[in-house]
Amino acid sequence: DAGVTQSPTHLIKTRGQQVTLRCSPKSGHDTVSWYQQALGQGPQFIFQYYEEEERQRGNFPDRFSGHQFPNYSSELNVNALLLGDSALYLCASSRIPGQAQTPLHFGNGTRLTVT
């Protein structure tokens, strides 16, 4: 049973560029959330997608956008990259949004470095 898969695993970009990260949820899961984890910090919620719509959003600027496809996979897009966007980007999947007690299953993340 495949867990959450993310690609690419590592990425180096230059300030001002745009980046797209991809995520396939765990089998049987239909909800995808994205988190940003800076070095030495806990993950911070970016947004959540369900039924191809953004359902919840954290305190991130509009430069961060996403998409969910009919097969439940998801993309995270970041425009006009800043040095401060360097972080580990984690995708997490779950079933039945709104059930806060349902544990999230995380992928191993994409390490983004902005130079």
Binding site: V4, T31, S33, Y35, G40, Q41, G42, P43, Q44, F45, Q48, R55, Q56, G58, L90, A92, S94, P97, G98, Q99, A100, Q101, T102, P103, L104, H105, F106, G107, N108, G109, R111
Partner: protein
Amino acid sequence: EDQVTQSPEALRLQEGESSSLNCSYTVSGLRGLFWYRQDPGKGPEFLFTLYSAGEEKEKERLKATLTKKESFLHITAPKPEDSATYLCASPHNTDKLIFGTGTRLQVFP
């Protein structure tokens, strides 16, 4: 403001030396408290969910407990393979998890 605070930031233990990690939270309308383990370069791995004060859950050398204001992760006779960062988190509103900054545990043989 909803907040999750973990202590200590880092903990070094000798193999077999038991200890506890603390997670204190100020989240209105608690809907559960999650513990995750994160190895370097990996995503967080789910360990436990605790729903109500007084609840306890165990897995191998780990036991998690919950009170009205804090949770503890007790590690009994740890082994080097228990070395990792342990994160606690609580849901805000529906599915947005608020994470603490984690406790980085190192267990030496």
